[in-house]
Structure formats: C-alpha cells, structure tokens
Assembly symmetry: C2
Homo-oligomer: 122 residues x 2
DNA sequence: TCCAAAACAATAATGATTATCATTTCTATA
DNA sequence: TATAGAAATGATAATCATTATTGTTTTGGA
C-alpha cells in the first residue's frame, strides 16, 4: 500500500508521502507515515536517503546507486558508480574496519537545470 | 583563533567547539560559535561534514578525504578514496550534470572498536 | 463474543540549527 | 581624541524535521 506510493514517486520526503497518502486516507497522521516508512526501511523494503541539509528522502530502488540533489529544482537524480561499493569494502578490509553502510550525496545541477542555464546565457 | 581549536581537535561538532572555546572565553554564546564556524566554512578555511543522523561536524583538513562514523565509540575516522572525486567528475561530464560538491559518510566500526569486538568474542 | 496486542491520530517534546534584536566593540576618518 | 557607522556579539526566540507519548480504535484469534 505504501510501497506503491513510494515506488511510483521520485525519492519523496516523508512529508510528500504524507500529502500523497492523504488523498486516499484523509485522516492519516504524519506520525503514522513516519512510523510505517521506518518499518519499511527496517525490513529492507525501501531505503532512506539521509540528506544532511534537508528532509530525509525515501527510495524504492534497492539496487546499488547514489544520488544527486539538484540545487536548481530540488529534484533527486540517480547516479551510477559501480565501483564505489567495491572500493569502500576494499578500504575496510585493508584498514581493519567494519563497514556497515555508506551514503553518498552529490550536490549540483541536474541535466535539465544545466540545459536551462545554458539557454539563459545565450 | 577558532582555527586552532578546529585543527587541534578531531572533527568536533559545533557544541564540542563551543565547550572548548568556553574555557578561554566563558561568555561566548553558541550562536556566535555557529556563526563563526559558518563563516570559516564559507571562506573555505574549514569544511563541514553533514552527518544526516546527528550533529554536523567540522574538519580542518582540506585535502580530499572521506569519513567513517564509528557506531561503536562515535568517533570520526578519515578514509582515503583517491579515485572517488575523479569518478564523480567523470559521471558528471558523461551525464551532463554540474557537480558542485559531494559528501560520503561511511557507517561502521573503527579499527579500535573492531579490535575490542574481537577480544570480547574470544 | 471477548480480550489482548497492535495500530492509530493527535499532540507534545526534542534537538540541532538559524534568526532576531538590542547592545557592545571595532574602525576609520575628521 | 572624538565620533559616526559598521560589524560582531550574547541572549533568546523561532524553526524544522523527527521522535515520543498518550489515550483511543481496530484487529485477529481463542
């Protein structure tokens, strides 16, 4: 039920999920959304993207990938970096660390905003 | 003045800096610490490490490196991943993005906590 | 049907950070 | 040296996302 919401939308924040779900269940509370999103994260159905300077976002795509947070339009774009996980695990092995997880957030402009900027400068 | 504090300590939070500076200037306010740390970040003298599930931390080392946030003792260890910046810039070029910055936080156990764990299991 | 456990809505609490505002401290120039 | 204007500061309030609490409602099994 929530899963559909999350997988359909693009990296929504808890509040965005709340607004969406409210269309179907107008009496749902924000606390319930947080609680259930937390549960879905806990059981591995979705993933939480911790953005340090903003609200956390949720992602239904479990395959390894990273995120670009666009400072132009605020969207979150997927980024493929197939070697990163391998590299981090290797550093962990070499340095005697235990890697439990990692999050990479790239800040910048998405493809559309870059295009927009180019047009403005013409 | 602040710089010394920051460079001496190990990735302190704003509050840690506040506690440290208070020993010299007992009347300084937390707001001033935040303000001046922000200024130092703005002019590039130090760097802010945005930890999504906790307080931000500040780092006087400007050379490219990343961080492991230890879930055992709460310390922050430096991690070298010399290829990461290059890879991100390459992806940016290939995908038509403008990269403005990026932050990688690794969660896990530091060397000491791994050792501690091994001893406990003996 | 009944009862315990789980889920819920509403709201309060928390914690880090930022904004506000009145006051103090610099700074440069006459 | 005096002084006006700018910048910095301390104290405190405000903000924002998230979590905790509490009392009520729903649910599923005996």
């Amino acid at each position: 039920m929530y899963r559909a919401v999350i997988e359909s939308s693009e990296h929504p924040t808890a509040d965005t999920v709340y607004q969406t779900v409210r269309k179907q269940c107008p009496d749902i509370s924000l606390g319930t959304v947080y609680r259930n999103l937390g549960r879905l994260v806990e059981c591995g159905a979705i993933r939480k993207i911790g953005v340090s300077d903003g609200s956390d976002r949720f992602d239904g795509t479990l395959a390894e990938h990273y995120h670009l947070l666009c400072s132009g339009c605020g969207c979150v774009a997927d980024i493929q970096l197939p070697e990163l996980g391998k590299q981090i695990r290797q550093v962990g092995r070499e340095s005697g660390l235990e890697i439990q997880g990692y999050e990479l957030i790239i800040h910048g402009l998405c493809k559309d905003c870059v295009q927009k900027q180019i047009k403005e400068n013409e």
